[in-house]
């Protein structure tokens, strides 16, 4: 037997109300523009209440606007409730309706005599694996709107199934399963495992919802949200430029909490670890020190897309970035997908999420954004911003992998890495102000990078030949704190290298005392690179 369903065209709310729903559109959105329009709608809603097509279900006080009430009216058709058909009207302290919102469906001509008895619907649900001996309520006849605008007379049953509670809609005419959704709207913390870009084992803090797992960290103070663009480069681009907001449906998901998508796994795990590093080392709570959510984007493209889009959208391939400095309420990190061997360099470039120092680098840009504001608009300040991100990136690497970490930036994902703090000249970057030739932030980062390195490890600057006595690797925490405090608390958007040198020396004295080994090391390091 065919399902009782109808598809209707669209009409305006007023048309809907003028014809008492009869000629209107299922799923018609109701939103009053003006109080006058609201009052007019309301009077017609009253008429529908009187003839039984709407039924008041609740009236609640507005906790934010004193004296205002919100009344809910549910749609009913010949005594059968229309699932999702509901209108809310706001009534002010004077008793006037000031706003109406909701959605109603055209149920004209829809029969309400089921061909299928409830017991048969129950059997169908049982065949879906549900425990019908523990129905949460008696089967209820309802009218279910479909996404295509159709309306179906349906039996609704709610029953447990395999650790979940499911809501089933069975077509009351044909017996077809129309909808099977979770009845539990909750997110609970969950811990999963995954394999990263380098096939490394990772632990993931995620959310469990309705039997699936979402890349939403619920154990750390900020929400760390990893959105999977599923290689849709246009969607990634329009998200980047703000045309498409991140939505829950974009969250990376996994069905069994054993995650296999490398970029998702590493981005999500590393972002958490980087947050932990800043918290444990410096007591900092994320980008704004107030646990602002940390969204991040993975899988913006396929590596081979670089041949097509590499010129137009290079940042989705051999790159990672924090977006967008100086733009309030828009902060996220994105990781390029890498490139096949030969496309960019001779070797394969792996997804950038696979490098913990890369993730920490981008997270630190967020710190800079919310603190020093070091701007790319100024020559050396841009270099300081990049350098600070390198410093923290490498520091995170040493924190978690002390036995294998080094001062090479990005070596996990890019063949041989792309910067070296111990020897910036290996990658053509300056290690001394005397050899700096142009103003590019990553290039200039070589100089403060070298200062940071020398302050910890000691050694001789290759250009100046000046030797530095570092605090030693076992005391690297001293220098990390000096540079963190100086960069986040003392620097400013137009700061240059000399400002950074003075700020770090001041921090060394403040944190470790006048004449301390840390102060000497930092001072010598800046002298060695030609800043002082």
């Amino acid at each position: 037997m065919a399902s009782v369903s109808r598809v209707c065209g669209s009409a305006s709310l007023l048309a809907l109300l003028a014809t008492s729903v009869g000629a209107a559109d299922p799923g018609l959105r109701m939103a009053s523009g003006t109080p006058a329009e609201a009052r007019e709608m309301s009077s017609r809603l009253d008429a529908m209440v009187r003839d039984g097509r709407l039924r008041p279900s609740s009236t609640r006080e507005d906790t934010l606007v004193p004296g205002h009430l919100h009344q809910r009216l549910v749609q009913v058709h010949k005594g059968i409730r229309v699932h999702g058909g509901e209108v809310v009207r706001e009534i002010d302290a004077a008793g006037s309706v000031v706003a109406v919102s909701g959605r109603l469906y055209d149920t004209t001509d829809l029969g309400v005599e089921p061909a299928l008895p409830a017991t048969q619907a129950r059997d169908i649900v049982a065949n879906q694996g549900a425990d019908v001996s523990r129905l949460l309520a008696a089967p209820e006849l309802t009218i279910l709107p479909g996404r295509d605008g159709s309306l179906s007379l349906a039996w609704m049953l709610v029953a447990p199934r395999r650790g979940d509670v499911r809501r089933f809609f069975i077509d009351a005419m044909s017996g077809r399963l129309l909808l099977d959704t979770t009845a539990i709207n909750r997110q609970t913390p969950a811990v999963g495992r995954g394999r990263g870009v380098l096939n490394n084992d990772q632990k993931l803090s995620v959310a469990s919802r309705g039997g699936t797992f979402e890349a939403m960290d619920m154990l750390r103070p900020p929400r760390i949200l990893t959105y999977d663009m599923k290689y849709d480069i246009f969607k990634a681009f329009f998200t980047l430029v703000g045309e498409i907001p991140f939505s829950n449906s974009d969250l990376a998901v996994d069905s069994d909490n054993n995650w296999t998508d490398g970029p998702t796994v590493d981005a999500h795990a590393y972002a958490g670890l980087v947050y932990d590093y800043f918290f444990k080392r410096f007591g900092r709570r994320g980008w704004n020190d107030a646990d602002l959510p940390i969204p991040q984007m993975v899988n913006p493209a396929r590596p081979e897309d670089i041949y097509v889009y590499g010129d137009a959208l290079p940042f989705f391939f051999v790159n990672a970035f924090y977006c967008c400095s100086g733009v309030e309420d828009v902060s996220f990190m994105a990781y390029g997908q890498g490139a096949p061997a030969g496309a960019f360099v001779s070797g394969q470039v792996k997804p950038f999420a696979g490098g913990i120092d890369v993730v920490a680098h981008e997270m630190t840009h967020g710190m800079s954004d919310f603190t020093n504001g070091l701007s790319l608009s100024f020559c050396e300040s841009g270099g300081l911003a990049e350098s600070f991100s390198d410093m923290m990136g490498i520091s995170v690497d040493f924190y978690y992998r002390p036995s294998t970490a080094n001062y090479r930036v990005g070596e996990d994902v890019f063949p041989n890495g792309f910067r070296d703090m111990g020897n910036p000249r290996l990658f053509g970057d300056p290690d001394h102000v005397a050899v700096a030739q142009f103003c590019e932030e990553h290039y200039l980062a070589g100089i403060p990078n070298q200062a940071f390195y020398l302050a910890i490890e000691g050694g001789t600057n290759r250009t100046s030949g000046i030797a530095v006595t570092g605090v030693g690797r076992s005391n690297r925490e001293q220098i990390e704190k000096v540079f963190y405090q100086a960069f986040t608390f003392r620097l400013f958007p137009s700061a240059d290298f000399q400002d950074a040198a003075l700020a770090t020396i001041t921090s060394a004295r403040a944190l470790h005392g006048n004449g301390s080994a840390a102060e000497r090391a930092v001072t010598q390091a800046w002298v060695a690179v030609g800043v002082l």
């Binding site: 811990v191 999963g192 495992r193 632990k203 154990l219 750390r220 103070p221 958490g272 670890l273 444990k280």
Partner: protein, 279 residues
């Protein structure tokens, strides 16, 4: 088993010799006489007296009521593993139960002058404590367990048992001594065992604060043996003061909730003091 055999042998060796009677190797004439028709002659009084079994005089039953003290301690260990945050955590708990107190009620029946059977019901209770060391997987970090350790008091151990013994007993003046041995059935052996501690933690979750350590009381039964000795001193015609030393032993594995078991050696030395009432 070897010990049990030895004990039984001891009882047999200790049994009094059979009473003297006619020679077992009768002469041929006597055999012929036996086959001949019985003559109605008056019985020889001496022979009849010699054939008569010795009569037991006095009561055959003895009721024994004792308070008991078990001086030794009892140690058990539990290792538990559990899955949490996708890794395996562990608990190692070492329990020590102190010397125990209990009691015993028994009934002894003399089959012969010195040989009897006895059945006793005993109960024992011990207080105890446990030390534990636990490792809890970190929710955010791999291979970085959080450790916790501590001591928990207020544990208990209980056992009830039935002992069935062969008893050899002798009386010398006011003193009665006895040796006994036999099987023991431990009706119930119940030993508290620590479960995985419950804890609280807050970000960054590097440490845990144990808020409680649940205890379960697995129980079971076991079959073993006992042996011992008893000394009585007559206080009145039918009442003795009694001192008893009993060693009993059975080893059993008590199943733990969630899998695993704890091995318990039930019994031990028990020293009992009380009264023996003959009737």
């Amino acid at each position: 088993m070897r010990l049990l055999q030895t004990t039984i042998a001891l009882v047999l060796i200790g049994a009094p010799p059979l009473p003297a009677g006619p020679a077992t190797a009768e002469p041929a004439t006597a055999q012929a006489a036996a086959r001949a028709p019985e003559k109605k002659t008056a019985p020889d009084k001496k022979t009849a007296a010699a054939k008569a079994k010795p009569k037991m005089t006095g009561p055959r039953f003895t009721l024994v009521l004792l308070g008991a003290f078990t001086p030794g301690s009892l140690d058990t260990s539990v290792f538990r593993s559990f899955e949490e945050f996708t890794e395996t955590g562990s608990l190692q708990a070492d329990h020590s139960f102190d010397s125990g107190i209990g009691g015993e009620i028994g009934l002894q029946y003399l089959l012969k002058k010195s040989l009897g059977l006895a059945a006793s019901f005993s109960f024992l209770s011990r207080d105890g404590s446990a030390t534990y060391e636990a490792e809890f997987p970190h929710p955010l970090l791999l291979d970085t367990p959080r450790e916790a350790s501590g001591t928990i008091d207020g544990l208990s151990y209980k056992e009830t048992a039935i002992h069935v013994d062969v008893v050899y007993t002798e009386t010398k003046g006011a003193f009665t001594y006895a040796l006994f041995a036999g099987p023991t059935f431990f009706l119930s052996v119940e030993a508290d065992a620590l479960k995985v501690p419950q804890y609280s933690h807050t970000y960054p979750y590097d440490t845990v604060t144990v808020i409680s350590v649940p205890v379960e009381s697995p129980s079971g039964s076991a079959f073993g043996f006992n042996l011992g000795g008893e000394l009585g001193y007559r206080l009145a015609k039918q009442v003795d003061a009694g001192l008893r030393v009993r060693f009993s032993r059975a080893t059993t594995d008590l199943d733990l909730a969630g899998g695993g078991s704890v091995e318990v050696s039930a019994g031990g030395f028990a020293i009992g003091v009380g009264v023996r009432i003959r009737f």
